[in-house]
Structure formats: structure tokens, C-alpha cells
Subunit: 214 residues, 2 copies
């Protein structure tokens, strides 16, 4: 089985925006309100941080619970890992996710400023100053035969798309417009020269876009 | 987490038929041609018996690859296990699936004629003369905290629905009519008094019906 590089559960607005500018510690998604992008996922039974029992078990739940399916490593950009820019002032910042990060695999953080690896619960974060192809090679080695998730953010996904390294994408398009911010695309059709596309509207209002290589 | 009883990847025609009458060794689906029910699944990358590389990785593939997600045991009716009726003439029949059955968990076969358990690869078949509630209790014990799949056939699913033991169902409705045979329903709306329902048309032509308890 070939090892795939997969984007999964990546959320954008109807106008293709995944995050705002000016990310900060208080606003991981910068100057946009991401609530409308996430609400469909938070309603599902499989959403990892839900606190009440219940939750939907329809189409959206299939999408959410597939997040870990056959995944052996994740690659993420530094802006997904944290709001800090430039050289690390210290090594206190360990990501947004507390003591139990939701990855449960090795995670490779792309950064021009490497620092020592560390482990929280069953997730180990490595820091890598590398081009996309080299980073993917390292992640595949660590994934032990399984697939690799490309976690975002949007700049990182665009870099890997430009390098033609992405095998499948699941992008959930929410029925809200954000106006300005970091864009994945102007329209999903930008990718259909290279990818098959299933457009799957969910009863929740979100539209799942499922791409796989031609 | 509660242990669920789940019907997954159960295939019916547009007129609700899952199999024909007169099942035999040569015709596991009796006197209907099941090709039209299965073709959408066989086109996916995750279909277990596909022999050529490739295959689709859109919506239908999510449905197919979810088959094993958090499943710790299966319950099936005797007619899914084999075409023989009445007392076993001998114990040579070991199912339709050869040396590598696609279950990889304990399987409980409901039958009025018990016989000794046996193991093929990582699947162990047990034979149980029990009502649905008792069978489910046994399967949950064996599932080690995971969910239980209700594998069919159609008569078995109807019995468990009548006993109100099913938590979720994924039924794939193919765009073919079979006319006569063993029916799951006249219409999916028969279940919507007890279940939420997402109706999800796939670009392949099949319509996925996803039910979960109200």
C-alpha cells in the first residue's frame, strides 16, 4: 500500500478563508471568528473535546471520526503549533492542546528555528527546518507504513499543494463568509485539474469537499 | 463510552431488497443479481477484495473504510454464514470467505443448531442459539469495550430492529430495482420515528442512509 499524504477535517468559509491575519495567543485564528467554521464538527458524537453525551452520528460524524484512520504521523506549520514568530525565546510553549494533544503520533512542526523534540502523552513533537518533500520523507519514515496527515495551517497546505505532494483532501466548507483572511482557494475548482472531487452537502449546512488524485 | 450495535455497509435496492429467495452455494444472494447493489463499493480504494491499484477515495470510500472503525465483534444470522439449513450434516462449512475472513474479530452466528467454535486467521466464529438481547450481551462481552457490528442478513437485522437493539445503521441504497426478494423496508421512513436520518446522495449514484437513535 502506498503511504498517502492527506488533509483531513480542514475547515474553510464559503469564501475559502481558513483563518484571519494577526494570530495571537488569545486568538489562534487571528482576527476572524472561527465559530461558524467549527460548529458542524462540534455537534458530532466523535468530536474529541465534547463534554456532554450524545451528538450526531450521521455524515458529519463519519468525517470527524475518520481523522485518525490509518494515520501514522502529522506535518504541521509553525503557525498551527503556536502564535510565536521568529527565534524561540524559550522552550516553554508546547502547543495549544494541553497535556493530551489530539494527535497520538509523531508530529513534525515546520520551522526555520529548530528546537529539541518533546513528548506530551502519546504525541511527540519534532521541529524541522526542511522543504516540503524532505519533511514528507521524514514523516513517512516515522509513520511506520501508515499515512501522513497534513494538518495545516493554510499556508502550509498551499506549499504542499504547490509541490504536488498531497494525495487526498477533505475540506469542510461552512455556510459563512469571513470576508478577508488567509485563503485556501478562491474556488475549489482550482484543484480539479489534478484531483477528482466529490462535493457532498451535509444536512448540517456544511459542504464536504473530497479530493483525490487523478 | 457506551458500546453501540451498528449496521454498516448494508446494501439494498431502491425497492428495499437486500437478497433474493432460494439462497444456494452458487448463489449466496439467491435468485437476484446483487451486482448492482455492490458495484459502488467495489469501485472504492478501500474495498477489501479489490485486485487492481487505484479506486475512488471520495464519499463512498469513507463509508467502506469505516467498516472496522472501533468494532470488536460481529453478530450475523445463519444465512449470512452459509446456505445450509437445519442441523449441520458435518462441520466442513466454514463460511463463504476462505482462509482470511474480512472480520478480524469474534463473530457470533445465530442458529438453532449450535456447533463448536473455530478460528480462521484472526476471526473466531461462535455459534449461538439465543434471542437477540442475549446474543448482543455475549457479543458486547467479547468486543472488549468496542462496538458490535450487526452484519445481516436482512431477517436478522429486522429481528434486532423489532427488539429495538440497533443504535446506528448505514444502509446504501443502490439505483436499481430488484422486484421481489427479502426486504429491509418498503421505505426508509419506517425508521424515522425512532431514528434521526441523514440522506446522503453520492456522485456514484448510490444514496447513503445514515440512521442514529433519537
Amino acid at each position: 500500500m502506498p503511504q498517502l499524504l492527506k488533509v483531513q477535517n480542514f475547515f474553510v468559509s464559503a469564501d475559502g478563508i481558513a483563518a484571519g491575519e494577526d494570530q495571537s495567543l488569545e486568538r489562534p485564528f487571528g482576527n476572524v471568528d472561527p465559530t461558524g467554521l467549527f460548529s458542524w464538527a462540534g455537534a458530532t458524537a466523535s468530536w474529541p473535546t465534547r463534554t456532554d453525551p450524545g451528538g450526531t452520528r450521521g455524515l458529519d460524524d463519519y468525517m470527524v471520526r475518520d481523522f485518525h484512520h490509518n494515520i501514522g504521523a502529522e506535518i504541521m506549520g509553525r503557525n498551527k503549533f503556536g502564535p510565536l514568530r521568529g527565534p524561540w525565546r524559550d522552550e516553554e510553549w508546547k502547543g495549544w492542546w494541553g497535556e493530551e494533544p489530539p494527535f497520538h503520533t509523531p508530529v513534525f512542526v515546520l520551522t526555520h528555528h529548530e528546537r529539541p523534540s518533546f513528548t506530551l502523552s502519546d504525541t511527540t513533537f519534532h521541529f524541522l527546518d526542511a522543504d516540503p518533500a524532505t519533511a514528507l520523507e521524514r514523516a513517512k519514515e516515522a509513520a511506520d507504513g501508515k499515512d501522513v496527515r497534513l494538518g495545516g495551517g493554510v499556508t502550509t497546505i498551499r506549499e504542499f499543494l504547490d509541490a504536488d505532494l498531497v494525495d487526498t483532501l477533505h475540506v469542510a466548507v461552512a455556510p459563512v463568509k469571513l470576508g478577508s483572511g488567509l485563503k485556501l482557494w478562491d474556488t475549489p475548482e482550482e484543484l480539479t485539474d489534478r484531483y477528482h472531487l466529490d462535493v457532498v452537502p451535509s444536512p448540517s449546512g456544511v459542504t464536504h469537499h473530497l479530493f483525490w488524485r487523478k
